[in-house]
Amino acid sequence: MATLQTRATARFMMSPAVILLFLWMIVPLVMTLYFSFLRYNLLMPGTEEFIGFLNYQYFLTDPAFFTALGNTLMLVGGTLLITVIGGILLALVLDQPFFGQGIVRLLVIAPFFVMPTVSALVWKNMLMHPVNGLFAWIARSFGFQPIDWFAELPLFSIVLIVAWQWLPFATLILLTALQSLDGEQIEAAEMDGAGAISRFIYLVLPHMSRAITVVILIQTIFLLSVFAEILVTTNGGPGIQTTNITYLIYMQALLQFDVGGASAGGIVAVILANIVAFFLIRLIGKNLER
């Protein structure tokens, strides 16, 4: 076969995307790397000097660093857990024929259209506020003590808001996968007397596995850099209970305007994210082959 030619064509076809992405990655990365070794504060021009690894030292020894790392993982993990399980269940429901399916599908996708700042503001003030919020009102009308969400369960509250925004994404991707499942196969299994649960475990789930991988990988990337929701609701508090790595870098970059510190933080975040991705790939990467 004309593999050599195909190879060349393939390379040619990939090159625009690869070259552009490479430039997009390398230029800011090199600049960031360079800045990360400087004392460089936007608010104090003229004081730039080479300071070696000092920025890294400060970022890594920040007492908030390890908590922030943990929070980042919890935020990503918690949201993934809710959206993947919820997404599978939702996809299964939406795959069934019922009246007004199209409308319900749209209703379910809708949260994805809302900008993070807005959804955080709406959830914080109109739903979760322990005095003026709707949840508090519902709790009180049933005679319960309203939950003080952002004081008692700060990180979980943020996970909830973020999960609400990302559930549609998971649902949509998983639904697409589910619908490409061969109906005849299911029927055959049904005839063989396979129950709904075993049909799900042995047929549906393996079929969706690649879609689940995509959901996990893509969401992880976005979830690692969640910060608008944190800024609007808690500003990383109380304490550092809702501070994630991105928020830590935000404090350096856009509150202190410490470009050096933020660059070091950015590089650290890239390394950490790649470690996460490495393990993710080891864990679920098999699904990509086949």
Partner: protein, 436 residues
């Protein structure tokens, strides 16, 4: 159909031609009510200055601040006029980023500015930004609830009197909370209130050698007082309440006392929004054993970046938006209660304003009581009242604010929060080169 299209084309071409000669000023501003009003009055300015067009970029405070700071520090040149706070003005002016405003014209009358505000936006006697509206902090309380509880709040209350009144006003079964104070972490959120409160207890952020002072008894007393009071008489969810959340609580009748920025008075007395509009009483920011009312002082100002090629037009606009005539313009269109407060002596001498704004006198008193060049009882190396005017403060203030909001939420003790604050501030100040 065709003729209409042609006509339209011709008209727009004409319009383009006339714009071509005009200068366009891009103005970055905050989305607060007074600025929105200014934007709506654009026409008055363009009528007087037909050769200048205005382009507005109105953003929320956080976004605006990061946007304009990035732009001015990298000399991006996106804006001709920037709305900046009293925190930024001295820092930016020292960097030479702001144009000294010496072309504002005779009608501007610089001597009419309130001295505290004028000081805050001047460096070495030169005005670097023109104040648009200003505020201090004060006590707002429900007169009806105070009466019901049998307490009186004097015009110059102490924190103990406030605490006593708050506790008596509290009736949690009917969702009435004696006191609402900011708790959401942030240098401009809970730290504004807590820094002012600490000032009034005799505390300070740094000693003369920039050593953080959170390990001193004054801070402990102030923070402990705040946490105890909020626990006993504050609303649930306080650790994530900022200005707006407390405003909503006060307006819906859930708070007995609210201590916050003076501009809040115009919101809580607005009968269209507030259920308690006719029941609000005022007092000065409380004191805690020393003669210090917190020294909270803030103003939003219009500044012109140094690199602009449109300096003349920009100053023309700044002068239009902040002189006495603008006040009268707003008054004639929207009523005296809606004019931007807190910048000019003449406004507070105006009997019509006093009639329309019952909080005018107390606002003026609060602003006159604030002294940003000597904010604390003990000597300090910095200026600024509810903030410390150094570039590092936004980051440090927010991190300390997180500690204190944890103390309020109960996930940390007061001592732990203070230790945490002390450690992280020392760290950042060492990094910044203040502590050698």
């Amino acid at each position: 159909m065709l003729t209409r299209t042609l006509l339209l084309g011709a008209v727009s071409a004409l319009a383009m031609a006339s714009f071509a000669h005009a200068e366009t000023l891009t103005i970055a501003t905050v989305n607060n009510g007074d600025m929105v009003r200014m934007q709506k009055l654009t026409e008055d300015f363009t009528k007087k200055n037909p050769d200048i067009q205005l382009e507005w970029v109105t953003l929320e405070e956080n976004v605006l601040r990061q946007r304009v700071t990035t732009d001015i520090a990298t000399k991006g040149g996106q804006y001709d006029i920037m709305t900046i706070g009293t925190y930024e003005v001295p820092i930016w002016a020292k960097q030479g980023w702001l144009l000294p405003l010496d072309g504002l014209g005779d009608a501007y009358d610089k001597s009419d500015l309130l001295p505290a505000i004028s000081d805050a936006v001047s460096v070495d006697g030169k005005l670097y930004a023109s104040p648009f509206y200003g505020e201090s902090a004060m006590v707002m309380y429900r007169k009806d609830l105070a009466e019901k509880a049998g307490v009186t709040i004097p015009e110059k209350p102490t924190w103990d009197q406030i605490a006593e009144a708050a506790k008596k006003m509290t009736d949690k079964s009917s969702e009435t909370y004696g006191i609402c104070l900011r708790g959401k972490a942030g240098w401009g959120e809970n730290m504004a209130l807590l820094t002012a409160t600490a000032n009034s207890f005799g505390a300070r952020w740094f000693d003369e050698k920039w050593t953080p002072q959170f390990d001193q008894p004054e801070w402990k007393k102030a923070l402990q007082f705040y946490v105890d009071l909020m626990k006993e008489a504050g609303p649930p969810g306080a650790s994530s309440n900022g200005f707006n959340e407390n405003l909503a609580l006060f307006q819906t009748g859930k708070c007995g006392i609210w201590i916050d920025a003076t501009v809040a008075a115009s919101f809580v007395t607005n009968p269209k929004e507030s259920k308690v509009a006719d029941k609000v009483g005022y007092a000065l920011f409380p004191t805690g054993g020393v003669e210090n009312h917190g020294n909270w002082l803030w103003a939003w100002n219009l500044g012109v970046p140094a690199g602009t090629k449109k300096a003349e037009a920009a100053q023309k606009f700044v002068s239009w938006a902040t002189d006495k005539a603008y006040t009268e313009l707003v008054a004639s269109k929207e009523g005296w209660a809606n004019v931007p407060p807190g910048t000019r002596k003449s406004l507070y001498a105006n009997p019509e304003y006093e009639k329309a704004a019952p909080f005018a006198k107390i606002t003026l008193d609060a602003m006159n009581a604030a002294n940003t060049s000597k904010p604390t009882v003990k000597p300090v190396p910095y200026t600024g009242g509810q903030f410390v005017a150094i570039p590092e403060f936004q980051g440090i203030g927010t991190a300390v604010g997180q500690q204190f909001s944890a103390a309020l939420a109960g996930s940390m003790t007061v001592d732990q929060a203070l230790q945490g604050a002390q450690a992280l501030t020392t760290r950042e100040m060492t990094k910044g080169g203040y502590i050698k």
